[in-house]
């Protein structure tokens, strides 16, 4: 298998502060990879660096094309959807407008309506509320909306930043089930950053562990889950 996303020696900075210290990793096409780490380890920064939302150096290649120097919106146009932390919902717009925004860069207009219908099949609750202002949705519903909005791009790669954050456990399970389904059926490569390591490792097939801006462990999700250190630090048993 060829790597879809290749990250080499990624360093990122917030002003004078360096947040990533030479990260190297790769995502295989069709894989579902998770990036684990404690608070402040640099998980969010990694995702933001891929989309050029922080100042960074190093090489990032997506399907053989370098991403450096591209603006965020042009990275997105290559087919990389990013579900940010805090969901980035357009709260004053309706649910349906949020979904339309997800497809704003697409030129195949006639398929968009069908795709919105497909999202309503994935997430029936969104159909019920499609004329409501998105700000009136609950946290879980907004997370579903954020994922659906990202899928409206018909992405090749989807980056998710802590999708479980602030959600009830049952909703998290449901969400992760849908993510797995999207990965298998729609062939979307997924990179998910998580603090909920147990769930993420159950779902993923690949995993990386990141500590203070460096990759400290990588491999098959099952192997990582059975690793002693990981169990102690991230799984808590």
């Amino acid at each position: 298998m060829t790597a879809m996303l290749n990250v080499k020696d990624l360093r990122a900075y917030y002003g004078q502060v360096q947040a990533l210290h030479g990260l190297t990793f790769a995502l295989n096409e069709g894989s579902l990879t998770t990036l684990l780490g404690a608070n402040g380890a640099g998980k969010t920064t990694t995702l933001r660096a891929i989309c050029n939302m922080v100042r960074s150096t190093g090489a990032i290649e997506f399907e053989g094309k370098p991403l450096s120097g591209k603006s965020t919106e042009n990275v997105v146009r290559l087919g990389i959807a990013h579900v940010p932390q805090g969901r980035g919902t357009f709260t004053t717009m309706t649910v349906e407008e949020n979904l339309q925004l997800g497809a704003i860069t697409r030129t195949d207009r006639k398929n968009i309506v069908a795709d919105i219908e497909r999202m309503y099949e994935h997430f029936p609750v969104l159909k019920e509320r499609h004329t409501q202002q998105a700000g009136t949705l609950s946290g879980g519903e907004q997370q579903m909306l954020a994922v659906a909005r990202a899928l409206m791009l018909r992405p090749r790669l989807m980056l998710l930043d802590e999708p479980s954050f602030g959600l009830a456990p049952l909703i998290v399970r449901e969400l992760f089930k849908i993510l797995g389904k999207i990965n298998r059926e729609d062939k979307v490569t997924i990179l998910v950053v998580e603090q909920n390591a147990q769930l993420a490792l159950e779902l993923a097939d690949q995993a990386y562990v990141i500590e203070t801006g460096k990759i400290v462990m990588s491999g098959n999700a099952k192997e990582i889950a059975s690793n002693e250190d990981v169990r102690k630090s991230y799984l808590g048993y």
């Binding site: 919106e73 980035g88 357009f90 004053t92 407008e97 704003i104 860069t105």
Partner: protein
């Protein structure tokens, strides 16, 4: 009672001017989150361009359309050249930039067209409207055009993809970029549209206040006030605000003793501020909830 009705009517007539300007103010505020102090001057400049075109023999409606196109391009050009480089500068520095632009446009217009007052034609005529001496056909036409623009803007923002993208860019720039919206160009587009709307305002106002480089000074202040009163996030609010300010101003001038012409403006503003103390987001604006 008749005096009252007449004053209200006259207020609505002047209010149409403010409504027109307020619409342009709201447009730019939506795009860039600031009040553009140079907006009135830009509108004045556009009006002069259309006047010049007519002097060269271009028919009214052609010069109208041409001016709109030139103003749209000009607005985009100003944003790209002067304000895009300031995108990361502090907000107050941007405000200083608006003031600088104001000085430049005013001074250049004065040099090209000098400061003598010029007549500006109206396509609507200036006969009494429906037999009323207080509203002329021109003012009625102006109200009509303002309402048309309002409907046009509503349709644009609600039902076009680019309108949706502009709203997204204004509401949450970062999220907008994450769905692939080029927010920087949306801002430029906002400048272009605001500039074109300002041009319409200027062209409609010029027959009333006459054409000269300082014609917009007072109008812009009322436009701001109207936009703030209506709520800066609502084009409809801005238009209603414009009419209200016009009526306010006329009634204050008539019924409060000792006000006269000079204190009309402060009193109108004071009234608006009183409204804002009770309704901080304006009459039709959406309250912004601050998160801690």
């Amino acid at each position: 009672m008749e005096l009252f009705t007449n004053q209200v009517l006259a207020g609505i007539a002047t209010g149409a001017i403010y409504a027109c300007m307020a619409l342009a103010v709201v447009m730019i505020y939506q795009a860039i989150d600031h009040l553009n102090f140079a907006q009135g001057e830009m509108a004045m400049f556009s009006t002069f361009i259309s006047w010049q075109l007519m002097q060269w023999g271009v028919p009214y409606w052609w010069s109208f359309i041409l001016t709109l196109a030139i103003s749209f391009a000009g607005g985009i050009l100003i944003e790209r050249l002067l304000f895009k480089p300031l995108a990361k500068a502090p907000v107050l520095t941007n405000v200083a930039g608006f003031i600088a632009l104001f000085a430049i446009v005013n001074s250049v217009a004065g040099l090209i067209w000098d400061f003598t007052i010029k007549q500006y034609p109206t396509p609507f005529g200036s006969a009494p409207f429906l037999g009323s001496q207080l509203i002329s056909t021109h003012q009625a036409g102006m109200i009509g055009v303002t309402l048309l623009m309002l409907v046009g803007l509503y349709l644009f923002f609600q039902f076009t993809r680019i309108g949706l993208a502009m709203r997204a860019a204004a509401a949450l720039p970062e999220s907008a970029r994450l769905v692939g919206v080029n927010t920087s160009w949306m801002i430029a587009l906002g400048w272009g549209m605001a500039s074109a709307i300002g041009a319409v305002a200027g062209i409609l106002i010029a027959p009333v206040v006459f054409l000269e480089p300082n014609m917009m000074g007072g109008v812009l202040v009322y436009g701001f006030a109207a936009a703030v009163l209506g709520g800066l996030s609502s084009p409809l609010g801005a238009v209603i605000g414009g009419f209200l300010v016009g009526v306010f101003e006329n009634l204050a001038g008539t019924y409060i003793p000792g006000v006269g012409n000079e204190l009309k403006l402060p009193i109108a503003l004071a009234l608006i501020i009183t409204v804002l103390v009770f309704k901080p987001a304006g009459l039709f604006g959406r309250a912004i909830v601050k998160r801690v």
